[in-house]
Each structure stands twice: as C-alpha cells, then as structure tokens.
Amino acid sequence: MAKFIVDNKTVEADESITLLRACLENDIYIPNLCWLKGMADAPVSCRLCFVEIEGEEQLTSSCKIKVRDDMVVKTDTPAVRRLQKTAFQLLMSAHEINCKVCPANKKCELQKIARFLKTGLKPKNMNSHLKEISADMPPNPSLDLHVNRCVLCGRCIYTCIQKQGQSQITFAKRGIDTIISFYGAPEVLSATCSECLACVSICPVSAITLT
C-alpha cells in the first residue's frame, strides 16, 4: 500500500494501480475518456487526465503512472484546468453537438466533463470540423457507427479485443480524418456482434448503436 496526498487529502492505494484509478476510487474525479480499469497499457490519447505532481516540471498523465508513497498530487491547478479545457474543446469541435436526438443524452461522458470543467459544450474560437460520411466503410449488419459522435477514445477496440480475442473494430485513416471502422466480413461481424454488444455499452458517447 502506498500513502500519498491528493488535493490535500491523504489517499491509500495499492502500489500496482495507476494514480488515475486510485483517485477515481477515492472520489476524486479526474476527467478521462480513453482509460479503462484493467488496461495494462493505457493509450494516453485523450489527453484529459493531467495532474500536477510536486517536484515534476511538467504535467503528468495520471493514467500512466503508478502511485508512490509520499507523492503530492494536485488535480485542479490552473495549468491542469487550462489543458483539460482545451483538450475538451478540441474534442467538441469535432463532435456533432445534437444532444436531444442522441441516446447518450444525460448519461454522456462529454456532458459530465463539461459540467465538471464548468465549460460549455460548444467550443469558442474553433471551427467545427465534422467528417464526411464515406461510403467505403465495411458495413456491420448489427451495428451503426456515428463517426461524428465518436471521440476516438478507443474503448470499443480494447473491449472488443477483451471479449472476442481479436478486435472487430479498428482505427482507420489518419490525422483529422481518423475514424473507427468495423473490420472483417459482414457475415462474421453479423454473427459475433449481434450477440456481444460490449462496444455499444462501453462507448461513452453513443457512437456505436444497434441498427
């Protein structure tokens, strides 16, 4: 067990777990999207879970470091909040903001983060960038993908590998055009996906839905 301080509060946690998990389990919320409990290697891609650790010059991704005795952590410094807000707004600039028709409404991770960071859903000073829906994506008879809801956290890919051994979902394209895409023959997808639906329930923003 390691004993350390987060936001002036003493926390105890097993040395094998990450700081992010330790905080979440002790009711200290740190915004996050791409991390899941149990992941051996977090992708560190959503860039939300920054914290400040005393003695370290730069902000740290809390999903990536293990807890240590006597570490002094701050989760709400101005620098942390600034980066989190920018990251969040960037995500929102590529997100279709139409909550009323979205099945995730009210339980959406993005709405939760916006409330927590006290920022609006619609980013200021940014162009909205929505992707064209391309027709060449392999279809999935059981599931629909909503690329402009997707925040590319990758939880679905991780979960699919856990459940199926091999992912039926993958990242495709790159840069600003990056999307997730189903992968494989429609018959296979139809057989495996209609039974499983793990990706549908793990998605924080309802980007994968039942057809």
């Binding site: 891609s45 959503c46 860039r47 902000l59 990242f171 790159r174 990056t178």
Partner: protein
C-alpha cells in the same frame, strides 16, 4: 551487465587483414589501368539532374572515338547546385583531376573530344582541381569546400557505393576489427567519452543510450537504424545511404557488439528506392565478406542486418511509432517511458539511432574520442550535416563542425542569397523547427544554441528565405504538413494542429480577425504541452518562432490585409503602370493564361482584377526596358484602369 566474451585478438585481425589485402589488390588493379578515369556522381540527386544521361553520353562518345577510359560511378558529393558532377582524372594530359559542374550530355560529348582526346580541359567549364597544383585553382580554395569538415561524409562521392572493396581499401571496417578486440564496455566508454549526441534531432548522448540497453540484462537486444527521414527538404540520410552505406553498417555492427545484439534492422522509407537497393546490396556484400553473419570476422560474435521498408509516414520516424510500424501495427507513437532502450521492438531492449549517428562510430573508434572532441563545441562535439536549400547560391549538403555560425554557413560556405535579394529568415529543423531572423545569424550551430533560439537541430533541414517570403505563409506551410502527417491518435495533435492551420490559412486569405494572434499563441502553447509525442509537441514551433520574431507580419495580415512578403495571393494584386507601358506591345496579353489583360483606348494594357489569377507571368514577360507590371499588397492599392478598349 552483458559483456561479450573476450575474443582472441588475432582472429578478427587476421580475418580483416585478408579482406583488406584482397581489396587493396583490386584497388591497385583498377588504378593501374592506364588512361583516363571519369567519376560520375549517380545518387538520386545526380540522377534527377541527368547523371545517367551524362554517363550514357560519355559511354557513347568514348566508343565512337575509340578512347579507352574507365567510368567510375560514385555517390553524391553534396554539391547539389553543381549536379551532375563529374570528376575527370586524365593523367596523360598533364592536368590534375578536375571537378566539372553541371555536366550535361552535350558537355560530356564535348569533354570527351576536347579534353580526353585532344588534352584541352576547357577552362571555362572547370570548377577546380581536386588537388593543389600549379595550373588550375583547387576546389579547396573555395569556402564551399575548405570550410567543410567531413567526418560522416568523408568518403561520399569518392567511392563506388556498390563496391565493398573500395570502402575496405580506404580503411573501411578496420574500426570493426579493432572493436572486436576490445571489451564491449570499453567501446561504450569510448562512445561516451567522445560526447557523440544522436543526430536524429533530439541530441541524446549515444553512449548513454547504448549503456542503458546493455544494462537490460538477459534479454536479446536489437539495433535499429532510423532512416525514415520524413522532414520535407531534408535528404542527408538518403545521400549517405546511397553514397557510402558500409559506414552505416559498420557503425551498426559495432553497436551490436557493444550492446550484445545479434540483430540489426535498417528502417528506410520505400520512397527511397535507390537507397533501399544500394543498402540491400551492401548487406549482401558484407555477408559474403563475413562482416555480417554467424561469425563476424571469424569470431564467435554473430550479427546480421535486415532492411525494413517503411511506407513513408513522417510520424514513423518517431522511435515508438517506428517500432509499432515494424511490428505490423498502425504507425502511432506510444507514451514514453518505457523508452525503446528498455522496451522496444517486441518488448526487447532496442537501440535506435539515426543514420548519421551510426556513421560517426567508425571514425570515433579509429581516431579516438579525443580527436572527435577536437571538432565542434564542448557540448556538441563533432560535425553537423545540413541540407541547405531555398534562396542560397550553393545549395546542397554541407558538413561543418558544430559551432560554426549561421552567417558563416549561409553567406560564406553557401554563397549567400542570389539575385541581390535580402536575407529574411532561416528555417531550421524542418516542421519541428523554427524561423530565425537576421539578428540570429551569429548563433552558433549546435544542439543547445539552436534550441535556445527557438529553433531546433532537428535532423538537419535548413531553408533559407529571402525578402520575398511571407512568414505567415511559411508557418501555414509547415502546419499543413504536420497536420496531414499527424497520426490522429491524441487530441491535441489530431484536432489542435488542424485548428491552428485553420487560423493561419484564414490570415493568408485576408480573413484575419482581432484576437487571432493571442489565439495562435494560446493554441500553440497548449498543443506543445498537451501532445503525446514529439510530432505534436514540436508542431507549433514554426508558429511560435514566427510570432516571436515576425509579429509585425502577422499584424499586417490582420489589420491591413497586407502581405509584406507579397506571397499570399489573395492579399496581392498586379497592375500595369501606364506611364511605363509601351503602346502596341502585346507580350503580357499574349502570355496571360486567363485573358485578364486588356488593351486600353490608347493602346496600352490593363489587368482585369476579377479575372486575374495572379500567376505573375505578365511581370516576367514585360521587357526590362519597360518594367511596367507592378505587384502590390494589399490588393486594394491597385489603381482603377478604365476598361475602354
């Protein structure tokens, strides 16, 4: 710590002796053939300039005139401005070997007749003799040659990259033979003492990196040479691979021995087909000479090298993305630590070094750490190689001691700015680097000074810009590149660079708004701090440095819709100065691709601004005696000319 088993000193020495003697014999046989020798540079740059045609022209002309001469293909000399480069060594003429620049097919035929047959070297075509002599000025009299210091590129352009004997005959692989007689710890110590820092951009101490890997007990180690070279405008790694691949292989084998690896991989982009071909050939030759394989130079040390062809994504040059790509995944970086030296390819400790870093190893082993430290500066020993391009007279690859100032490099060595134009800025370090203005010309070129100035050594791209370039547009150009090359994994790089590009593009279109400068600055800082890998962390550098040093240009774009460099099309316009326009002259009208030029009632010309696409052809076509076409910014400055033709 892994330590190689001590090797009987005689074994590698004897093995090396054998191949050295054989190489010398072949070299002497080549040199003892009487008659002229024609050395032609046929790396990619030479070939692009027509070196293969030049070679055919020589072959044809020699056959036609029944002249016995040997054609010797070599790699690149680094003098791009002079390609195709030919050196003719014609002992019977009484002249020393002569360096000829820009040898076209026609020139090749002419030189065959006039020089090779009749003994007249045609002074007007000579750049210089390659050795000091009484008759012709030597190339070493020119700064472009004598201020260089060649360590990595010493043999580039001198030897045939396809012939391992030529490398061996010039002491190649002797450093390997020496290394195999030493303890691996000693070699790492030597590299540490030399102060060598990685040439791939970040400048991490190479000896330390090797030591980390060596400290990873028990595990098999892998040596990777990073030849991804994705910076736009940078081509030194390609040139070295194409001109002297064995010096890189030698560095890799020594590294393998020092770190306890059996496997080496060269990660080279598939867009470098000639480099891939030559380095593959070099590996085969090295195997045939027992320099690679089960028993390196007859010792019990086994090491082999494979070639991995990357698909040319810039981000795959980043070491963790490079590893992912070799494992068959998307080329996306991962969080560090663990560093590749601890957990690299297939989770094995992996030493990743740049092409130039490996090429420094053999000279260091041969001449010693102390010698290496006499070159360059205390914190950055050795040389730096830049591909100097843009507005300079003598563009090309330049290898200089670290610590030389930007001014010396640009103005003395590379001949300054052509066409009497003014220097405006130098962009160093490619898309991760920055633009430095004239005030920084006296900055010494080394890792730390450049970083301090806001630029970066990067992998050595250097673009010199004159008064006609627009710094906002330059920043937009590099952001456009990084934005496209982002792998899309992390939020800041994927969306942040896109937003940054949007703002810059808006400015160059004259749609800048108040507050944009602060917005650019804020975004840049956040992307720098928030991105996962080096690509995103450095992508805002061109914006940050141009904002710092050329803020007035940003302000002009936003407030006055003016582009001071007159490069942004939307913000500029052409018009014809009626006082200078010659009645009846039709040159501008004839060349206009969109029929925007019209004739006025007094038979002069005007430009229809609604039709003009601002290609500038009319300005080129207008005879210098009239010089009547003007370019202005902002576009609103154009006087109205009645369309009454």
């Amino acid at each position: 710590m892994k330590k190689a088993t001590p090797i009987n000193k005689d074994i590698p020495e004897q093995a090396y002796d054998r191949i050295y003697k054989q190489a010398m014999q072949r070299q002497e046989a080549f040199l003892s053939v009487p008659g002229p020798r024609i050395h032609i540079g046929t790396a990619t740059c030479g070939i692009a300039a027509g070196a293969l045609e030049t070679r055919s022209a020589f072959e044809e002309a020699l056959a036609q005139r029944n002249i016995d001469a040997q054609i010797h293909t070599v790699g690149c000399f680094g003098h791009c401005y002079a390609e195709p480069v030919v050196i003719i060594d014609h002992p019977d003429s009484g002249f020393p070997p002569i360096f000829y620049p820009e040898v076209t097919s026609a020139k090749a035929k002419m030189l065959t007749t006039l020089f090779l047959q009749e003994g007249d070297p045609r002074f007007e075509h000579i750049l210089g003799a390659t050795v000091a002599n009484e008759m012709i000025p030597s190339i070493m009299d020119f700064a472009r040659f004598n201020q260089e210091k060649r360590v990595v590129m010493e043999k580039c352009g001198q030897i045939d990259p396809e012939n391992i004997d030529e490398y061996i005959a010039s002491d190649g692989y002797s450093a390997l033979a020496k290394s195999l007689q030493r303890d691996s710890v000693e070699i790492i110590d030597l590299v540490k003492k030399s102060g060598l820092r990685g040439r791939g951009g970040a400048g991490f101490p190479t000896g330390l990196k090797w030591e980390f890997t060596q400290n990873e007990q028990d595990n098999e180690t892998i040596v990777v040479c990073n030849a991804d070279e994705g910076d736009p405008g940078a081509y030194m790694d390609r040139t070295i691979l194409e001109s002297n691949p064995h010096q890189i292989l030698e560095g890799m084998v020594i590294c393998g021995y020092a770190t306890g690896a059996r496997r080496g991989i060269i990660y080279v982009r598939a867009e470098y087909p000639l480099a891939v071909k030559l380095v593959t050939h070099a590996v085969e030759q090295a195997r045939a000479y027992s320099i690679l394989g089960q028993s390196v130079l007859n010792t019990d040390f086994a090491f082999d090298i494979e070639i991995f062809q990357g698909s040319g994504a810039f981000v795959c040059g980043e070491e963790t993305a490079l590893i992912r790509s070799m494992e068959g995944h998307r080329g996306a970086p991962r969080y560090r630590p663990p560093y590749p030296a601890q957990k690299g390819l297939h989770n094995l400790p992996t030493v990743i070094n740049n092409v130039k870093t490996f090429a420094c190893i053999a000279p260091i082993v041969n001449k010693g750490a102390q010698w290496f430290r006499t070159i360059g500066t205390k914190q950055s020993p050795g040389t730096a190689i830049f591909s100097v391009v843009g507005s300079v007279v003598h563009a090309g690859l330049v290898e200089i001691p670290m610590g030389v100032t930007l001014r010396t490099l640009i103005f003395d060595i590379c001949g300054g700015i052509p066409d009497n134009k003014q220097f405006k800025a130098v962009q160093i370090g490619g898309p991760s680097g920055g633009c430095l203005p004239a005030e920084f010309l006296d900055t010494p070129i080394d890792f730390d000074s450049l970083t301090e100035a806001g630029a970066m050594m990067g992998s050595g791209g250097m673009v010199v810009m004159d008064e006609d370039s627009c710094m906002v547009d330059v920043a937009r150009f590099f952001l456009d590149f990084t934005q496209k090359e982002s792998c899309g994994k992390c939020t800041f790089c994927r969306i942040g660079t896109h937003q940054l590009l949007n703002i810059l593009a808006r400015l160059t279109r004259g749609e800048g708004r108040e507050g944009d400068i602060d917005l650019l600055d804020d975004f840049s800082v956040d992307i720098k701090n928030g991105s996962l890998c080096g690509l995103g962390k450095t992508a805002p550098n061109p914006v940050l440095t141009s904002l710092r040093y050329f803020k007035d240009e940003y302000i002009a774009h936003i407030n006055e819709k003016c582009c001071p460099g007159m490069a942004c099309r939307t913000l500029t316009a052409f018009y014809i100065e009626l006082d200078q326009c010659a009645r009846g002259c039709d040159l501008c009208e004839a060349c206009c691709p969109v029929e925007a030029v019209f004739t006025t009632s007094n038979r002069k010309k005007g430009i229809d601004q609604a039709l003009c696409v601002k290609c500038g052809e009319c300005q080129v076509a207008c005879p210098p005696d009239y010089d009547a076409v003007r370019k202005v910014s902002p576009a609103a400055l154009v006087p109205v000319i009645e369309h009454t033709g």
